[in-house]
Symmetry: C2
Subunit: 508 residues, 2 copies
């Protein structure tokens, strides 16, 4: 349950005569009584509550004290504030439906919740977010969009706005196949399935191939959305460290011991590390995979975003045993709101995925698919790519230079040759979670490294900076603020915020 997010929608009435702490207590109390916040839910720490509502810490403390007096919350020393069990008969006349109790068990992903709460601390008001992996809205091709739909030569055929096949809009499937031929991938429209972003591709592949107890191998660190969706399907995750050379012997060990159902990799401008898998490694990986008939899921959202030379051929292009499933998206090269990605795979797998997709949404939205056809038919997408490559290259260089200049001693990183991210490591024993808190005060944010690991606290000294969302000036300012946050921690001394392996106490 994302408590901070739930509360962040609520607004206080500054003009009211009711004290702010009572307003806050009222808002939270209401959510407890209506069971939106069920018994046992941990509420945000006082300092976070204060930030959330823009009040002093004293006001936040008073709000919790007031709720405690009403018997709605309980404070456990050293642990935090929790929602109390509601006394019987307290639910509005006992007539309402106890929604929380009716729901199916949900795979708990506690880390992601903690992180979301950290990341949702209010960063507005001049704060610079280097956290989200999103292209810069200022570069979205809004004009192309307008022309695409309004252009007099591009009249929409109404039939294209009706139901289309679950696998996607036929002309788009063909155009995607033609587009990826440039990346050396031989395919026809029948090998392509259009999905609601690559997230849906991951979900459908999980539905088609994974059952509880199955094993999946992922790089470590890796894209958080992937390992979450695999975990939610009940699979166990085996992690493969990807700093330095690819660990072939460990992978082979996994293959022999656990017979994993698939290997998930981002070989080109990896998220979060920016790593580019060299061509010889790609070939060796495929040799090993072919020997074991291993399904390799290649996630490739960034390969068109190269800033020096073109990347080597994709695994899919080099695949000679038919085991590579290829996943990509237009979210990173155009804009995320398109929600349009694609999977290139054996038609038998696509057919099964289509049956799952039928249950989920019948088919993806036609407007975005129609529009993408217009962009792919013309040279518009190619021109847009050339534009953003030039711009992002400047941004990457600006951030890398500023980091070296302002945080030189404190951080290690390699300049990536493409993609969205610079992956940093604190040279001194500074935890990224701690650094994020300090950075919030300075007005800059990022994603702490542990978000990308299956087994935190791995990555506790690492963090990811996205260099494409802002122009060069804000990036430089972001690096300066980061340097100030690091200096602030140097002054206050180190502090272990994340407690690992807390002793397990018996439930009494």
């Amino acid at each position: 349950m994302d408590v901070s997010k739930m509360l962040s929608g609520a607004r206080l009435d500054a003009s009211s005569r009711r004290p702010l702490y009572l307003q806050i207590a009222g808002l939270i109390g209401e959510k407890i009584k209506s069971l939106v916040l069920p018994a046992g839910t941990k509420l945000p720490p006082e300092r976070e509550l204060a930030v959330l509502f823009g009040v002093s810490r004293t006001t936040a403390i008073n709000a919790y004290r007031c709720l405690e007096q009403q018997g709605l919350v309980v404070t456990r020393v050293g642990s935090g504030t929790y929602v109390e069990e509601l006394p019987a008969g307290r639910e509005e006349e006992g007539r309402s439906v106890p929604w929380i109790q009716l729901m199916t068990p949900f795979p708990q992903l506690p880390l992601s919740t903690v992180l979301r709460e950290i990341l949702e601390v209010d960063f507005s008001g001049g704060s610079i977010s280097l956290a989200a992996g999103m292209p810069d809205p200022a570069l979205y091709p809004v004009e192309l969009l307008r022309q695409g739909i309004a252009g007099s030569n591009n009249g929409i055929n109404p039939v294209d706005l009706g139901h289309i096949s679950t696998e996607g809009y036929g002309p788009l499937r063909n155009l995607v196949a033609r587009m990826i031929a440039d990346r050396g991938i031989e395919s026809t429209g029948e090998d392509v399935m259009i999905t609601a972003g690559s997230q849906q591709g991951l979900y459908l592949i999980g539905k088609a191939l994974l059952e509880p107890g199955d094993y999946v191998v992922v790089e470590s660190p890796t894209f958080i959305g992937a390992h979450q969706v695999f975990s939610a399907s009940g699979a166990r995750i085996l992690s493969l460290p990807v700093a330095g050379q690819f660990p072939f012997s460990l992978l082979e060990d996994y293959l022999v011991r656990y017979r994993p159902k698939l290997l998930y990799v981002i070989p080109t401008y990896h998220n979060p590390t920016g790593r580019l898998m060299p061509e010889n490694e790609r070939r060796d990986l495929l040799k090993l995979a072919a020997r074991h008939r291993l399904v390799v899921l290649e996630d490739d959202p960034y390969s068109e975003l190269y800033y020096d030379e073109k990347p080597p051929a994709s695994l899919k292009a080099l695949d000679d045993y038919g085991g590579v499933v290829y996943l990509s998206t237009y979210s990173k090269v155009l804009f995320p709101g398109l929600r349009t990605g694609y999977v290139v795979a054996h038609p038998a797998l696509l057919n099964r995925m289509a049956h799952e997709k039928q249950f989920i949404d019948l088919h993806s939205n036609n407007l975005a698919q129609w529009l993408l056809c217009r962009l792919l038919e013309s040279d518009a997408l190619r021109e847009h790519l050339a534009l953003v490559r030039g711009e992002y290259k400047k941004r990457r260089d600006a951030l890398a230079k500023a980091l070296r200049r302002y945080c030189g001693e404190e951080l290690s990183f390699e300049t990536p040759r493409g993609g969205f991210y610079i992956w940093c490591r604190n040279n001194r024993p500074v935890l990224s979670g701690r650094l994020l808190q300090q950075s919030a005060g300075e007005g800059v944010s990022f994603v702490p490294g542990e978000a990308f690991y299956v087994h935190p606290p791995e990555g506790e000294k690492e963090f990811r900076l996205c260099f494409v969302t802002h122009a060069e000036k804000p990036l430089q300012e972001g690096a300066r603020r980061l340097a100030r946050a690091l200096a602030g921690i140097r002054r206050t001394g180190k502090q272990r915020d994340i407690i690992v392996n807390q002793p397990v106490k018996p439930l009494i």
Copy 2:
């Protein structure tokens, strides 16, 4: 596996010197060798294969004979043609990935597959489809769409094309809440979640509330997509006959005996029967539901499409115990390609559904949501509704009149007061599946009744006609063709095509 669909993409080369039966055998053989058609798959009957490729029945028979000689298929007398087990070593050098064998078990929904095959018989070339529940493309508001995106006063804010919250685009959620206030539903944007069509709403509700073994009550007949998604979640389906009065005592019996997790109903212009639940029944249903804290899932895609008086208040509007979850969509009133529907429910349920949706697609597409905002802010949607109501009323009357005129003796039906469908029943012992085959020859199609029942062959004498997809003239012609098909069956005598409860033979 949808074999007919898979084959229907393939085209023969009429100019080739290679005989057609060899071309067909080649196409099918290729799919068998590449495991797209796995061992044990039932292939289409010869007459269907003939229709599929537009060849004579003899050519189809010869194609199968040829495949049999190659050891690729086997014919079982009285049962059909099946793909044979591939001899070892036949898979391309044994190096390819055996996709079919790697997939997770899929809930078999044999009926729907059979029906899809029937419905995918080529109806092009002047054939009139009264099957799909789709609005008429000629009435799609394409011009509104163009204006909405291109209008100079409606500049898109690029930020709206980035990531938005999983629950939907905020302004649209608020506008939906305002719009449904007209239907008596009190809500705020926080009670509304935007989904990829109402299909996704069904899926997410299933994820949040249903586990294998749970019970769900549905009307019988009902919307096929709903009972399929509930079945796929592993739930058992209890069916509630909805001809005539609502069966309250049976429902109460189910509630007491099985404690079902939810009741799924379409109270307003029901699909497929067109039935309108009267207001007193609505109130009685809610009283019973409240007493049992039953979750009622009200699916309401059609209530704005009334052709006489407005329908009574929705269950959600009358709900006084908070147990009604409301589901609707813009597919039926605008166009299906928008893929935009919504769920109105308790925020605790929406929060859980949003967590599931995050895995599936992060959020629904922004373009459609942005566009809907433009249509809802102006009076455009209201004006469009007035237009289609007038038009569909004429179509309903035209089809009803033509059916009475041409098929009067043969069919029974009631004229619906809104929605999309006329639900017919054969007065004589004619099976709808048989009638559909005969109708294909006459150039008209519909959906046979059994598609809407959880337990076929219920509905085998019923069928659904959609009266909104075509204008009055084609509707009249459709009724004439249906009359000819009925006459054709009268001449050839009755024939039982659907074999019920075939004796189970031991596997030897």
